[in-house]
């Protein structure tokens, strides 16, 4: 099997995309996928299609907005940007994530007693 890549958790992808849009400003789906790939340094295995599911879902919830524009190599592309509501959600999710990862980190650091 070789080195096994970690699969992306459903909710985590939402968080990552929100964070990406928050940090980079409006991006199209391809750009988002590239950015995540870059940041994760190939550790995460991502079916890039799932990015679009996530985008659709967050659009419905009003966390992100979409607009048609032109990509860097002059093609028609849909650009996504984070909304105010999305910023609130991002803050909430980030705190949530940190709390959980703190807990898990603490648990994993536990040494056997004695």
């Amino acid at each position: 099997m070789g080195t096994r890549k970690s699969e992306v958790l459903q909710g985590t992808l939402d968080l990552m995309i929100l964070k990406t849009l928050h940090a980079m400003g409006p991006l199209h789906g391809f750009g988002i996928a590239r950015r995540i790939e870059q940041v994760s340094r190939d550790i995460l295995q991502l079916n890039e299609g799932t990015v679009y599911t996530s985008l659709l879902r967050m659009q419905q919830q009003g966390w992100i907005a979409a607009q048609w524009g032109t990509s860097e190599n002059n093609r028609k592309a849909k650009f996504y940007s984070i909304t105010k509501r999305g910023e609130t959600q991002l803050k909430l999710e980030t705190e949530n994530w940190q709390r959980i990862s703190d807990v898990i980190g603490r648990v994993l650091r536990l040494e056997p007693e004695g």
């Binding site: 199209h28 789906g29 391809f30 996928a33 079916n47 890039e48 299609g49 799932t50 679009y52 599911t53 659709l56 879902r57 419905q60 919830q61 009003g62 990509s71 190599n73 093609r75 028609k76 592309a77 849909k78 959600q89 909430l92």
Partner: protein
């Protein structure tokens, strides 16, 4: 914090919008995806791949785009609405491809749904909505209920003054009307006939809110004193006694000596008070507080909207307490007024039978559902590959389940459609066995809106029962296994077989419960028929003679009429015996307090008493135990003698010779010194209806008193029904002013009142029992046939290894019987638990009647064995060579 609800609402709104701009969304997504793929491809090309290689890698990295479209659709459109039509069409196509399976499934469901619809129609028409009147739920009648009285006891009739007082002073009714029964003598050309009449007070027809069929309703002016006398007729009477002759409208009839004009005929469902003619009458106060009058008026009121029965009871009790101070005789010392709905009293015992049958049909529906569930499971295994392929193509589990549920729904709809036809036909036959005397006269049994709605409900709900489990089962699987497996392996999955077996066990259990119920009712019915009535009911004709009161006041006048009539009737060809009686058997006349001269006792002594002519005992073949019955002279001379039944002796004069003792009857009108000498003892005769215990009874010569009624009892040599005309002519030859009422053969009379209810239960339950048995047979057969077919390969190996045909027979039949025995154990347990429910309807047998239990169990085992023999023989005929090649 954005709540869950908000999350959902936003999702739904998006779906709603998306639903209407479906195409655009799909195209947009496609464009986006293509764009993405091309950019990816460009990137890989830049990294040094060939164009094709790059494109392939791009697609791989992007993942399943079909699934993406699916997900988008799920997110952005109302998938259920959109896919509904598609799935429905697909389901119909799938089912059409396997017509044999569908035929069996639909027929099975149709039996279940059809039976349930038919019975629901009966229950709805008889119990839930028997009355066609305006707001029947608000029509109530008051009952004077003494504190010491039983639950259903109490006076329901009121005097004229009481009716007027209640109508004027109540605060709870919109309207009040009253009805009084009246036997109407109607003069026809050759003699007098009798009609059941009802006097109704002003507003009666407005109260019921039904239009007239022909002519007109009674108008307010018709009720005024001095108005031309008119009346209205019921449809059934007009049709049956007057041939539906329209020219009779506005003709004059002589009713009880008054010339009345027929002004209207009511529609078929109008049957208030089960009367045949309705006569207007306006009530006026009896003068003074003197005579109270006879409390013969049945009062009904329409509750004002929002007024509860309790409020009405409280209000009416206040009025009644006031009335009780004026007319103390009519009220017990402690009482309240109870308010009852019309119809509560009519149906009584028969309601229990109906509810039993309703429960039974529920079981039947469950059985048919389990059967179809089993069929679906068996079929699903042959479709494993199809499902696996669908799953591999990206169909989610929910989607698969939905597809299967749609197939179930289509089957159920087919079953319901066919079931409605079955119900329609079945109701026609049910109406025939319906006990007409036990249901409200207004009831018309037919398929109606509620019944059709219930069929539709069943069509929608039954798939949940028979379709869901198989759908869950078949959608839960690893597609790899199924695709690799040829589908004819040595054994099917344990889980699935276990499930199918459970269904069969359940089916057998339910069916046994049904069979036991039917068996118990049948045995009880036979016991009821064999009850020794104490008389021979065959070849007996009876009719009540209504003598005009003016001319028959004294016992002498009555005797002077009867003596020649009895002699002439007896002389008619075909007549064996004829007698007079004061009641219609199997009811034993009036009740009276009594004393036996020379005996003291603390509690009240009571006896039924009946006035008869000397031939009465011989006519009904009642056996004489001791002494003798009346002589002709004793009857003619009106001697004070009496014959008693054995119950009388064992209760009041045991261990003594009753002959020669003297009995004093309290309620003997017009007899100055009612001390009667006992001259004989006869065997016990049913005298309170068939199911009640026999009470002490005493017979006296009819010549002693003129108290009505007078009944003519005739034993004939041929069919008694054919003799009525001759007997009537003979009566009219003596006095054409005498009317004949309640004419019937004794067998019909007993049958209509006492056998009809139980017979309905027996007939319906037996039909259900048979259908249940048939379904179980199909169920056991299909499961065994299926598993045997799956095991053909295994059987081949067994035979190759030397198994005998007998071994194989045993193997398959044994497998079948194991299921059946399990089901029987559960079924017996259920039956014993339900015994309490059905026990109240049983006569002469216990609810754990061993004969019924063993009989039905054996029947079920035999049927199941027969059902498993066919697949067993097929297994035994397997040629090992072919079987081993069978893949």
């Amino acid at each position: 914090m954005s709540s869950r609800l908000e999350f959902r609402l936003r999702g739904f709104a998006a779906k709603l919008f998306g639903f209407f701009s479906e195409r655009q969304h799909d195209d947009e997504l496609d464009a986006e995806i293509n764009e993405h793929l091309e950019m990816l491809t460009d990137r890989f090309v830049a990294q040094g791949m060939t164009r094709e290689e790059a494109s392939r890698t791009a697609h791989l990295q992007f993942g399943n785009s079909t699934l993406l479209h699916e997900e988008r659709r799920e997110l952005q459109t109302l998938t259920s609405v959109e896919a509904l039509w598609l799935d429905l069409r697909y389901a119909v196509r799938t089912i059409w491809r396997s017509r044999r399976f569908a035929g069996i499934a639909i027929a099975t469901l149709a039996l279940g749904i059809g039976s349930a619809t038919a019975i629901f129609s009966v229950v709805d028409n008889v119990l839930l909505a028997p009355f066609p009147y305006k707001d029947p739920g608000r029509i109530v009648f008051p009952r004077v209920h003494g504190a010491q009285q039983g639950e259903d006891a109490g006076r329901q009739g009121y005097t004229v003054n009481e009716v007027l007082e209640i109508a004027e002073s109540n605060h709870v009714f919109d309207a009040v009307i009253a009805t009084e029964e009246d036997l109407v003598l109607y003069k026809r050309r050759e003699g007098t006939e009798q009609l059941y009449g009802a006097h109704v007070t002003p507003g009666a027809f407005e109260f019921f809110g039904m239009p007239v069929l022909h002519g007109r309703l009674l108008q307010p002016s018709d009720y005024e004193p001095g108005a031309p006398p008119v009346f209205v007729m019921r449809y059934k009477t007009w049709k049956e006694k007057f041939n539906g002759d329209l020219s009779l409208l506005n003709k004059t009839f002589i009713l009880n000596g008054t010339a009345r004009t027929l002004v209207g005929v009511m529609p078929p469902r109008f049957g208030w008070y089960d009367a045949e003619v309705y006569i207007p009458e306006k009530l006026t106060h009896w003068p003074g507080a003197g005579p109270e009058g006879f409390p013969g008026w049945f009062l009904v009121g329409r509750l004002k909207s929002g007024v509860s029965s309790q409020q009405a009871e409280a209000d009416l009790t206040v009025i009644a307490k006031r009335l009780a101070t004026i007319y103390p005789k009519g009220y017990p010392p402690e009482f309240t007024i109870l308010v009852k709905h019309v119809g509560d009293t009519v149906i009584g015992r028969f309601a229990e039978t109906l509810y039993t049958v309703l429960a039974a049909v529920g079981l039947l529906l469950l059985i048919s559902c389990s059967n179809v569930a089993n069929l679906m499971l068996a079929r699903a295994t042959t479709r494993e590959k199809e499902f696996a392929l669908r799953a591999a193509m990206g169909a989610g589990r929910a989607r698969l389940i939905r597809l299967l549920m749609f197939e179930s729904l289509v089957l159920a709809l087919g079953g319901a459609a066919l079931g409605v036809l079955i119900a329609w036909g079945g109701l026609k036959s049910l109406v025939v066995v319906m006990p007409q005397d036990l249901i409200p006269a207004e009831t018309v049994i037919q398929l109606n809106g509620p019944a059709l709605a219930s069929a539709l409900c069943m069509a929608i709900l039954t798939p949940m029962i028979f379709g869901l489990a198989p759908a869950l089962q078949s959608s839960r699987q690893d597609c790899n296994d199924a695709l690799r497996d040829s589908g004819k392996g040595v054994s099917s999955g344990f889980r699935r077989r276990w499930f199918r077996d459970t269904v069969v066990v359940g089916e057998v259990a339910l069916s046994l419960t049904l069979l036991i119920g039917a068996g118990l009712l049948m045995r009880s019915f036979v016991a009821l028929r064999e009850l020794n009535l104490g008389l021979r009911a065959d070849h007996v004709l009876q009719t009540m003679l209504i003598l005009p009161e003016q001319r028959y006041k004294t016992a002498e006048q009555v005797t002077r009429f009867f003596r020649p009539v009895l002699a002439q009737v007896k002389a008619l060809p075909g007549v064996v015996d004829a007698a007079e009686s004061s009641s219609l058997p199997p009811y034993g006349g009036d009740e009276s307090k009594m004393e036996i001269v020379g005996k003291t006792h603390t509690e009240d002594w009571r006896t039924l008493f009946q006035q008869v002519s000397q031939e009465y005992f011989r006519t009904l073949r009642i056996e004489v135990r001791r002494g003798r019955t009346f002589s002709e002279a004793e009857v003619n001379d009106a001697r004070k003698v009496a014959v008693v039944n054995e119950m009388f002796v064992s209760k009041y004069s045991p261990k003594e010779n009753p002959i020669g003792q003297h009995v004093r009857l309290a309620n003997l009108e017009g007899v100055p010194d009612p001390s009667l000498e006992i001259i004989g003892v006869v065997g016990d005769v049913t005298n309170r209806g068939l199911q009640a215990p026999i009470e002490p009874e005493l017979w006296i010569p009819y010549s002693l008193t003129s108290m009505p009624p007078q009944v003519l009892v005739v034993r004939t040599a041929q069919d008694p029904g054919t003799m009525l005309d001759v007997v009537r002519k003979q009566v009219w030859a003596t006095d054409s002013g005498v009317a004949l009422a309640y004419s019937s053969t004794l067998e019909d009379f007993i049958g209509g009142r006492m056998y009809a209810g139980p017979r309905f239960g027996v007939v319906v339950m037996s039909i259900f029992g048979c259908i249940g048995l048939l379904l179980v047979t199909v169920g056991v057969y299909s499961v065994l046939a299926y598993s045997t077919a799956r095991k053909t390969h295994e059987i081949g190996i067994r035979m190759a290894l030397g198994a005998k045909r007998a071994d194989l027979l045993r193997l398959v039949v044994g497998a079948g019987l194991r299921l059946v025995v399990g089901g029987i154990a559960i079924g017996l347990a259920i039956s014993l638990m339900l015994a309490r429910v059905i026990g109240t309807e049983l006569v002469g047998i216990k609810s754990w009647d061993p004969i019924t239990l063993t009989g039905t169990t054996l029947l079920l085992i035999l049927t199941a064995t027969a059902a498993s023999l066919i697949p067993a023989r097929r297994a035994a005929r397997v040629d090992p060579v072919i079987a081993l090649r069978y893949e």
